[in-house]
Symmetry: C2
Subunit: 190 residues, 2 copies
Amino acid sequence: MTRIENSKRTILNLAESLLQDKGFNGFSYAHISSELGVKNAAIHYHFPSKEDLGIAVIRRYRERFKLWINNSRVKDLTPEAKLDWFLGIYTNMRADQGKVCLVGAMEAEFNAIPDGLRDEVQGMHKELLVWLQSTLEEGRDGGVFAFKGEPADKAALILSTLQGALQMARALGTKKFHNVIEQIKLDLLK
Amino acid sequence: MTRIENSKRTILNLAESLLQDKGFNGFSYAHISSELGVKNAAIHYHFPSKEDLGIAVIRRYRERFKLWINNSRVKDLTPEAKLDWFLGIYTNMRADQGKVCLVGAMEAEFNAIPDGLRDEVQGMHKELLVWLQSTLEEGRDGGVFAFKGEPADKAALILSTLQGALQMARALGTKKFHNVIEQIKLDLLK
DNA sequence: TGACAAACTTACTATTTAGTAAGTATAATC
DNA sequence: GATTATACTTACTAAATAGTAAGTTTGTCA
């Protein structure tokens, strides 16, 4: 009976990775249990239903993001550095086995995932948008960002772009992804 | 024994709709057969494997797109009108039951779909990019579009944005989607 | 009218899926 | 040292899945 140190966290890590890799309907409890060398039921012990597991993954990410943006390491950055930090999150996803963002993966199969998970994804998307919007406002007021229209709309555009670009990179490669990242900056920086 | 008129086309229509709605791993042959009032095996008669079906859907779309862009109704438009036509495709998808684009749906679960389907998606994505790039070039040369950087990169950005925006709209609604569309124009038109 | 092919149905298989109930080993606590 | 909670395993189940083999109906054409 080999126990995993901190099973719950290990399961969440793997589930998050699988969600970003194959989507909610593309992985099963068997993927997790076989990888961890435990039985199926062990996963159900920690997360009774697949919906519970999906929700827990998103919830953990939301909390992580909240901690990040409220930490002085990010909070005290210049708007330009904040943007780079944010873009870096997506660049790292791409670098990490071609993963896509949780929000994008879940929204692509939005009509084929459980209700509770949908709510959680919606909440996460809103939070990302709010932060990005305020960063754009801050940067425009400070004179480092330049764009037409409302910060809320520009934020929604940039987030959509990042979401799409990660997916695009799977078919067309990392170079194209980085070109899009550079284009985002060209379209934003003065 | 009620026969469907033009079964193959009807199956492809439904499969395309399901792909855009639930993704490749989110629908089954049973969804199609029950909707059409036939048996499972009837679908397998026309498309032996699910991979065959997926490939056929994408292939049909690629041919449709090729016909469109080579038809004078699109070909002879101004660059600005071409852009509006292209954006209109995505607006219509959103209006049609909140569908997302085939490319986005398939790339979100890229690592959980068959090889042959991946190739087809890759080809489709390239074709969309090529057309959009040449339209951007045409528009910039004509002085109606203004953007920094390379047309190829701006095309990749816009396509990524559209892909992501359709998915975002599922969680955040149609209004946000239209705001992104307007922002694309603000970021492109002189 | 007979042959034949197209478009199915019936009936099935093997596999995977999420999920459960009951038992067991281990660790912590009283 | 006994009790109890934690973290599992064993052993299932029911449903859904893609896919197949063999038979049946229907329209077409020589």
